[in-house]
């Protein structure tokens, strides 16, 4: 038996729950086939989420899942350019012709899909992204040059959640693109971070479950981490990472959304209509974080 998991045509944080629902009870007993043939577009969140699914199945000792590549040549080329297929080859039995990675010029990809396994990876990521982040933030998004450091800081802190809390490795990707429906077609830069680890609930359970009582669950854990800046560590200096990201985003009308287990919690700026809190979602392993920073002006 094979379980078919269809990748939505437009695969991003909004359609992610649809993707997660196909897995059923986790981990699925059957071999999984992830069918991306009909996918027309995927955000960085979608791409790192796909890899997380493959990683989580491997860590659950399930048979290597199958992945059928998008039918669209443009989509395949783009996924190749982000580095997705290079990592997917380790996690999936890939079916379909994948374009070879060639020389790339300037693109919307600020940071290829990159694994995060240890602190050293974050050094590499921050070092690699600074120049391009400065160009995009000031040139395209109209954000003060001094805010580039804050962006690198937010990226570093988002990635550190994996190293510090997930108990396994994860993935990050950064990209700029244009919102079609929201924000009147403005440019945005998006950081997507995903891991297949223990998730916020299990990470915080030993220190927070009793305090929340009956309210404890994925939703309560996200609330503790994102709203109350709680950490599982007793060190009073902990828990500042997400607080720092929120502070940075509040200055630039940015958005942060975290999905873990069966809940998603977001700090939603005025330009977005997302629900701040959604519970009882289809389960998905680990945690998925998305940070979105919009252009400070409408495009002419």
């Amino acid at each position: 038996m094979t379980r078919i998991v269809e990748v939505p045509a437009h695969f991003d944080d909004r359609s992610f729950d649809q993707f997660a629902a196909h897995f059923g009870a986790w981990p699925p007993e059957e071999r999984v086939l992830i069918d991306a043939r009909g996918t027309q577009w995927a955000s960085p969140y979608g791409l790192v989420g796909l890899l997380t699914a493959g990683q989580a199945l491997a860590e659950a000792s399930r048979e290597k899942p199958l992945l059928t590549v998008p039918a669209s040549d443009d989509v395949k080329r783009y996924w190749t350019r982000t580095g997705f297929f290079a990592h997917a080859a380790d996690l999936f039995e890939v079916h379909g012709k994948v374009p070879k990675a060639g020389a790339t010029g300037p693109s919307d990809v600020l940071l290829d899909v990159t694994p995060i396994r240890a602190s050293e990876d974050i050094h590499e990521i921050v070092g690699k992204i600074q120049e391009s982040a400065a160009r995009i933030l000031t040139g395209e998004l109209g954000i003060d040059a001094k805010a580039t450091m804050g962006f690198a800081m937010a990226l570093s802190e988002a990635c550190q959640n994996i190293v510090e809390h997930a108990g396994t490795s994860g993935w990050v990707a950064v990209q700029t693109y244009t919102f079609r429906r929201r924000l009147g077609g403005r440019r945005v830069v998006v950081i997507a971070v995903s891991d297949a680890g223990v998730g916020f609930r299990r990470s915080l359970e030993s220190t927070q479950a009793r305090r929340f009582g009956d309210r404890w669950g994925d939703q309560g854990a996200l609330e503790a981490a994102l709203i109350q800046n709680v950490s599982r560590f007793r060190d009073p200096g902990r828990g500042q990472g997400l607080a720092g990201i929120k502070r940075y985003l509040s200055r630039w009308q940015g958005k942060i959304s975290i999905r873990s287990g069966t809940a998603r919690l977001a700090i939603v700026p005025a330009w977005d209509e997302d629900a701040p809190l959604v519970d009882h979602l289809p389960f998905f392993p680990g945690a998925q974080v998305q940070v979105t920073i919009p252009a400070q002006h409408a495009e002419s």
Partner: protein, 179 residues
């Protein structure tokens, strides 16, 4: 005596690579460990943490290095001063210092006069700026220079003293900066 510690150099020793970014808690802890070892054998009363050559500073590193060294210094007789700080590093430093209700004197790149970072009252900031700009003073002299009451001046100086960013020598308050 002032003991100067180059964070860029300690970073390169701690991670054994040519990184210029102070990021991640593990890196911060490694850098702080080396600094503490240096301080343990040094005899300087003032420690100057020099940020020159450091690019990105994230919250985790700011917390592990600056906040924790300040917390440790508060139990001894050591004064910590930051130098070579870039304006875009201010945010991370302000955030972690405010979190711990700490303050520190910092010299920013290209700016002659030092500034205070962290959790400190506005009067204390003004008093510190005056002491830094026009030199040490006893409470009555400073009150006259700022056109404040003596009571207000003493409260501001107490705040500075509590945070170890100014200290009295024979009744005259000196800002914690580098000569």
């Amino acid at each position: 005596m002032v003991q100067t510690i180059s964070l860029h150099r300690v970073l390169q020793e701690a991670v054994a690579t040519p990184y210029r970014n102070l990021v991640t808690r593990a890196t911060g802890a490694a850098v702080r460990g080396r600094i503490e070892a240096t301080l343990a054998v040094g005899n300087g009363h003032t420690t100057l943490l020099d940020f020159s050559g450091v690019d990105c500073l994230d919250l985790s590193c700011a917390d592990e290095i600056v906040a924790k060294l300040l917390l440790a210094a508060a139990t001894g007789d050591r004064v910590l001063v930051l130098a070579g700080v870039r304006e875009d590093q201010r945010e991370a430093l302000e955030h972690v210092l405010a979190h711990h209700r700490l303050a520190v004197a910092a010299c920013f790149c290209g700016i002659a006069q030092p500034d205070l970072l962290g959790w400190i009252g506005s009067d204390a900031r003004l008093a510190f700026a005056e002491l830094s700009a026009r030199g040490p003073a006893d409470p009555p002299s400073l009150a006259a220079r700022l056109d404040w009451s003596l009571e207000r001046t003493v409260l501001a100086l107490d705040d500075l003293g509590r945070h170890r960013v100014a200290r009295p020598v024979a009744g005259v308050f000196h800002p914690a900066t580098v000569p």
